[in-house]
């Protein structure tokens, strides 16, 4: 089970990517809890998650995100622009698995 949260301004645009990531997880038979949320709710929404992502359009929040996630020892990264623009759920899910150190499970 991997729990991933994607943060953008309102949690809307990342919502599309979330659907694609869920689809990719299902194809691999990976149990995953993936959802989008507004960046303003990061404090609450990072509770008990494995990986946090920021949409590239709010990448200026990375310092703040690292502070919040650092305390909870959660890896946090900005989604690469190309994967974001093409809504490449597979790549972003791969990235999440790498960040959480679960790559070898695949």
């Amino acid at each position: 089970m991997i729990k991933i949260r994607l943060f953008c301004a309102a949690g809307m645009s990342t919502g599309i990517l979330v659907e694609r990531m869920i689809k990719s997880a299902r194809e691999r038979g990976l149990e995953a809890d993936i959802a989008a949320a507004p960046a303003a709710a990061m404090e609450e929404e990072t509770q008990g998650i494995d990986v946090a992502f920021l949409g590239p359009q709010v990448r200026y929040k990375l310092d703040e995100a690292k502070k919040i996630c650092g305390e909870k020892k959660i890896p946090v990264e900005v989604i690469p622009m190309v994967d974001y623009g093409t809504m490449n759920g597979k790549n972003v899910l791969d990235f999440a698995l790498r960040l959480s150190g679960r790559e070898e499970q695949q």
């Binding site: 590239p56 709010v58 310092d63």
Partner: protein, 432 residues
């Protein structure tokens, strides 16, 4: 390009770390749904059940429901009519929470301070100057749209003062360890709370003594009115638009970064219009929140639905067409990120040109169309995800021309994007 990107990143980081801008931005984000609720009340009383301006003029039977109007008026009055009050509480609570204080306490403290600095009674005088009656109460002008900036400033000052005074140990009443934490807390903030309310009252007193008016009049005339005049002027809004689209050009969420400044202005202008319509007056502010969304954010900031349409019309390359198809649905709800990062527009020297040009052209066109009375002035707040045409139609109170003008802006933007889409594909082919 990279240097520009880095410089803008710095601005973004600064704005994002600024506690005041953040509190104001989030406060407006939280209150916007209530302005939409209020707009539903307005839609009922001025668009549906209204014998002069609404459906009632062409479909009289609906007027049988006019006995409901007071209730819908109340929906508007208690939301949009109290926007200043709501913003005060929210800014106070959010700022307090970011400083590590209890948000409910800080929100309430800000509200009480606002009451403390407001005019609380008025003499009704006869023609010869003798006072007939003294009316008590805080006027709506302090709590509605004309009180927004006063509310923001009062909330920031109250919480800052509270934060400063709380740091002075001697002013906090300490309880023995056996007293429960929540009780001890209520005592420790007693003196600071008193001092904050007192100091705010004294400031108000000084202003009243010196200029003979209340704090709200002072702030309204000195800050709010000039800012709104700036924001409602065409050059003013074009500067804001330019900043927003420049930020987007390097892939940063433009609105999210400048909303701390932009929203107080655009929402105030919007709410002034709603209040004017409620009072059967004339709307005045061509530029407002819904105008911005209609003439800049069709499909997402930069009229990017037009870009997707341009790719669907003229695009020949499979990768571009597949992004256009992927993007189209989200564009219909004004989510532009797929376009911005997909084609991409971000850091793309060819597509940035029409991105900026169509933004400015669309705003100017919307302004001109409204000024010459082809497009109605917008006065209804709508969710930002409202699809094209419907947004212009509903934001102008159900006036078909509002929707038509949004489509005109979309068509002109498409024409601006088209040659650049061709050029971009040519360049892509050459690069292979």
């Amino acid at each position: 390009m990279n240097q520009l990107s880095n410089a803008l990143m710095k601005v973004g980081k600064w704005a994002d770390k600024n506690e005041y801008l953040n509190a104001v931005k989030e406060a407006f984000q939280m209150f916007i749904p209530f302005t939409i609720i209020g707009a539903m009340g307005t839609l009922w009383t001025s668009v549906l059940c209204n014998a002069n301006t609404g459906l009632g003029s062409i479909f009289p039977p609906i007027m049988a429901l006019s006995f409901l109007n007071p209730a819908f008026n109340a929906v508007n009055f208690c939301t949009i009519g109290y926007i200043g009050l709501g913003i005060t509480v929210l800014v106070g609570a959010l700022l307090g929470s970011s400083k590590g204080h209890d948000p409910i306490y800080c929100g309430l403290l800000s509200l009480l301070c606002l009451a403390g600095v407001s005019q609380s009674s008025m003499d009704v005088a006869a023609a010869d100057g003798t006072v007939i009656e003294t009316i008590k109460g805080i006027f709506n002008s302090n709590l509605g749209s004309t009180g927004i900036f006063t509310g923001i400033i009062v909330a920031i000052c109250s919480v800052e003062l509270f934060n400063t005074i709380m740091k002075i140990d001697a002013l906090r009443i300490k309880m023995p360890d056996k007293v429960p934490g929540s009780v001890a807390k209520s005592f420790s903030s007693l003196v600071p709370g008193f001092l904050v309310i007192l100091i705010m009252g004294l400031i108000s007193l000084v202003i009243y003594t010196v200029i003979g008016g209340y704090l709200n009049d002072f702030i309204y005339n000195l800050i709010q009115a000039p800012l709104l005049r700036l924001g409602s002027s065409l050059p003013g809004i074009l500067v804001f638009v330019l900043i927003a689209v420049m930020l987007w050009s390097v892939g940063l969420h433009g609105e999210n970064m400048i909303n701390g400044v932009l929203n107080p202005i655009l929402i105030s202008l919007m709410v002034e219009n709603t209040e004017a319509v409620e009072a059967d007056g004339a709307t005045m502010n061509i530029i407002n929140f819904s105008f911005y969304r209609t003439f800049l954010c069709t499909g997402g900031t930069g009229m990017v639905l037009a870009l997707t349409i341009a790719f669907l019309i003229t695009g020949k390359r499979e990768e571009n067409r597949s992004i256009a198809k992927l993007s189209l649905v989200s564009n219909l709800f004004n989510i532009g990120e797929v376009c911005m990062f997909g084609y991409p527009v971000v850091l793309n020297p060819i597509l940035i040109i029409p991105f900026i040009a169509s933004s400015l052209a669309s705003i100017i066109m919307g302004y001109v169309l409204t000024a010459i009375h082809i497009c109605p002035i917008m006065y209804v707040n709508m969710p930002w995800t409202m699809p094209p045409f419907l947004l212009g139609f509903l934001a102008s109170g159900g006036n078909i021309m509002g929707g038509v003008c949004q489509l005109i802006a979309l068509a002109v933007s498409t024409l601006i994007y088209l040659p650049f889409v061709k050029l971009y594909e040519k360049q892509q082919a050459a690069a292979e």
